[in-house]
Symmetry: C2
Subunit: 576 residues, 2 copies
């Protein structure tokens, strides 16, 4: 392609409103045009790269036995009501009314539509397993579209759905997809880590995310450099070390702790370490109920874990009035002596029965010491909370905490989610009635998985991971072209002939070349070559032509080589 | 692909609500799933065919020098207000409000977005010409989605836009696109005719449509079998023969024509042929003005031509009250003696000044004879209409009328519009400010063209044109697979081994095979083979295996051949 004929205008300056490397570089390299917030047009350079990514995705999905379909963006709202997500997805859903007043959803994902198709075509176990996928446009009305293509309102996704007779089948499909995903990201030149993930609004059980580690990532990750454990902070577990246990159980005692509003103050006053205190963190859920979380004083609450435990749609910090309404006292709260009605009690499993704790006495300026939770957590009527409390992991893992697998310290990093795989189980097949007849002729719900890749996000995160101060450094497999051919002093007829001939030769040999034949200075051309960042830069100049050589520079190399003119093609297309 | 693992369920019965061949056959062959009215999911078989069509389109567009982009579906309403089409497109536009209350349009076409991109990147004549295209999903809230994929609300289009410095450049781009379109339809196996077309809501000047002739077509076409002239009825011209002229001009005379409400009655009563009468056809436009069309009694009015002449958005038949309000009398109307205010007069050029006509006298039961339109068409105040009337072609061409080029009779047919090319000129570049600096440094509006192909409509119309009573007859280049391999009695281990081996051999050689390895009867398999309609059917059966042959049947052939087993691959992949 001749650059003089190509729709590609580079910018010298970084646009002011672009805050991430991918956004800045894609704008500067003339790859995208913003049409609305989070809505982009892909210009020829970006579109070539996206097509290469799509090809890699297709090849790996096909190789894993998946079948490609193409589903529509317009979905009748009734399908979303059937699955229960018309309300559950909230404002993320773009909705549109047609001329007859029917409400349609612009598909943010396609579980409903694909389940509708499968329930119409699958009859028996003989029709299973099936893995169906598509590469298609998704619409999500994000509250804060940002970071260029990293979080848009219209974007391209590869979404796949597996349908199996039984959970062993699902395990096989899930593993096949996990392997395909590793292959895809490897081939796209992305370094990813696979983390345990929360399954969020999609529903279901196991789920893993493929994360491109990059500073611009929205996700907080924890991983263990020793054993390889890795998880999204929303999901991450850690080893909770138990502070010194005691065989004695002294009776509970109320002590004055005037002016001690923080755990640190109380612990210092009473001479106990923070890990021998219990703090209360209080939320109100969407029904108005109080979610009362007890956790060790040195730990933080992971709200996602709380939400999941109580299947809460929404949590917000409880107000003082809401806390007092159940008989607790803000700043000095504990479950001891409060009302049970309207309260859900969550006890983090960092709190163990063999440890002697300090906690709030539900009285301004007072705490209890010698609290053993199994003995002392009683409600207003003296009925123990033990047995009705949710006792499990509600804590947020942090860098430095012990790895849940090997105990060595976890490290923190940031990541961009480029892939996400879920074991959905029978969530959708049960709500939407997608069943099969098993070998015994019994009707069973189909066991489903779903698997997503952000195709446009791969493009953006490849740039986040592969750039330098001069511009993009394309991973070769997804570079829009392989070679940037610079012609210098093309106003000299002989030089233009040489450069044109090299371009034609490479083009005919199937080498993808972007030929900078513009009337621009050497400086502009070299800067643009670095900015656009194709893997190889070739330069034809009067001096080179005289010597019978071409300058050959790999984008990642510090310096250029001179290669004999007749050896260029061979160097670019070595026989296998 | 093994059919036993493929998402493909054929139906024996024709679904009741499908009224066109493409819709019936696509449903019966398990190719599509209807999600909402005019909204379809493409299942694997259809998607394979669509991908082949897309590949052909891409190759031909690239060969014609067009550059591929991908534009979004969500457009800010402001872009559509700038071009003036936010109102002009009416209810066809799907509109959606985002969470901040901003209105967005779901793109039914992309002139606005592409013009916005080009006005940001083109500076001078050096940046031109440009042809940009995309293959993308369009959304149109059609009043009556119907005929399967022929008229949907969500469909795939290839849309291209050309940008030139001057109209000669546009002519070149237009011709390049016209040629690419001929190549595309030829390669897809479609017989098309190119017709002169009305340019409708897109705006602009010259335009041509590529029509697949088929009974299910929505468009009425006229073509001349002698000289090749062809046009959409909306646009078609014809040779208007002039009835006997006269040198004498007798004075106008009012005659009683009691009970003669039709042209035929009047003509019979007065002893003149219908082509020597002038009838009035009256419309009211969207401003409430009366559009008064005079046309020869034997011809019909073409409303599209009337709309275009007056740039009317909407025309409806005028009511009696509206006709009387200007001083005309329904059933006896003519422009003679009526009020001029609020009246637009259209005189079809079938009415010539050398002919003596009969027309209405604006009095119940009376007509005038000896009317010469240039002499006698006067308003209420005696002022001639000549000079202020629109005098041009307003007539509807019909089969049997003379070809406008050679005069021989036109024939009628029906067609499916699969492509449409327009010379837009500067309609959009002027309203949206897309300009370039010419060689003299003067700012000029960019001269544009636009070019559309209905990609999903190609699929549907290929089936309309290529099917028989048994099923689809795929044009080879867009067939989802090349070979349908039937295995009979596969429960016999030896036969299954033979069939599997043939499948593997063809698959490895790159021949696309759909292998019917299901546990079904020979009848079911042969019926499905015909229904799905791949170009070649191969059959492996116990009898064939014993003879060392494979049955080879071309879908269009009446009977099958027996081919030696070892010659099958050679027969399917003859060396070039």
């Amino acid at each position: 392609m001749r650059l003089s004929r190509y729709l590609l205008k580079t910018l010298r300056e970084t646009p002011a409103d672009a805050d991430t490397a991918n956004h800045q570089l894609m704008l500067r390299a003339g790859m995208v045009h913003q049409v609305a917030a989070g809505v982009y047009g892909y210009l020829p350079l970006a579109w070539r790269a996206l097509q290469k990514i799509e090809r890699i995705v297709r090849e790996e999905m096909d190789a894993a036995g998946a079948q490609e379909v193409r589903l529509p963006a317009l979905h009748p709202i009734e399908l979303w009501q059937e699955s229960g997500r018309a309300a559950g997805m909230g404002d993320i859903l773009f909705k549109v009314k047609d001329r007859r007043g029917h409400e349609l959803v612009l598909g943010p994902t396609h579980e409903e539509v694909i389940t509708d198709i499968v329930r119409h075509s699958v009859r028996s176990y003989r029709d299973l397993p099936l893995i169906l996928y598509q590469i298609q446009t998704k619409f999500r009305d994000e509250p804060r579209p940002r970071s260029g293509l990293l979080r848009g309102r219209e974007f391209t996704m590869k979404d796949a759905y597996s349908f199996d007779a039984g959970s062993e089948g699902l395990d096989r499909s899930y593993q096949a997809m996990a392997q395909a995903y590793r292959n895809i990201f490897d081939r796209c030149g992305l370094q990813t880590i696979v983390v345990e993930a929360d399954s969020g609004a999609i529903g279901g059980k196991d789920s893993q995310e493929f994360m491109v580690t990059a500073a611009a990532g929205e996700d907080e990750l924890l991983h263990c450099p020793s054993c390889g454990y890795a998880a999204n902070v929303e999901k991450a577990a850690f080893k909770k070390l138990t502070p010194g246990t005691t065989a004695e159980r002294p009776p509970r005692e109320k002590v004055a702790t005037p002016g001690c509003a923080t755990i640190r103050d109380v612990a210092a006053l009473l001479g106990v370490p923070p890990e021998r205190t219990i703090k209360a963190v209080l939320y109100t859920d969407e029904t108005g109920g109080l979610v009362f979380v007890c956790i060790r004083g040195d730990l933080e609450v992971n709200e996602v874990k709380v939400k999941n435990a109580f299947k809460a749609k929404d949590l917000r910090p409880a107000t003082d009035a809401e806390i007092r309404a159940v008989g607790a006292v803000p700043g000095y709260a504990s479950p001891i002596g409060i009302r049970r009605e309207g309260v859900k009690l969550a006890v983090d499993d960092s709190i163990v029965s063999s440890v002697d704790y300090v906690t709030g006495a539900n009285q301004e300026g007072y705490h209890y010491r010698h609290v053993f939770w199994d003995r002392d957590f009683m409600d207003k009527d003296g009925k123990p909370w033990l047995g009705s409390a949710y006792y499990q992991d509600f804590a947020k893992a942090q860098p430095g905490h012990g790895c849940p697998k090997c105990g060595l310290p976890l490290e923190g990093s940031r990541g961009i989610e480029v892939g996400h795989i879920f074991k959905l189980g029978t969530v959708y097949s049960e709500s939407m009635g997608a069943r099969y007849l098993d070998t015994a002729g019994q009707e069973q719900p189909i066991v489903m998985g779903c698997y997503g890749i952000g195709v446009t996000r791969i493009l953006a995160s490849a740039i986040e991971q592969h750039h330098d101060e001069k511009g993009i450094v394309w991973p070769p497999a997804i570079a829009p072209f392989r070679v940037y051919l610079v012609g210098l002093n093309l106003e000299q007829e002989a030089i233009r002939r040489e450069a044109d001939a090299l371009y034609d030769e490479l083009d005919k040999a199937g080498v993808e070349v972007l030929y900078d034949d513009r009337e621009e200075s050497a400086g502009v051309k070299f800067n643009d070559a670095d900015l656009i960042g194709l893997p190889v830069r070739l330069t034809v100049s009067p001096r080179n032509v005289k010597q019978g050589v071409v300058e050959y520079k790999v984008r990642t190399a510090a310096k250029a080589d001179l290669v004999e003119r007749q050896r260029i093609l061979e160097k670019l297309t070595p026989s296998a």
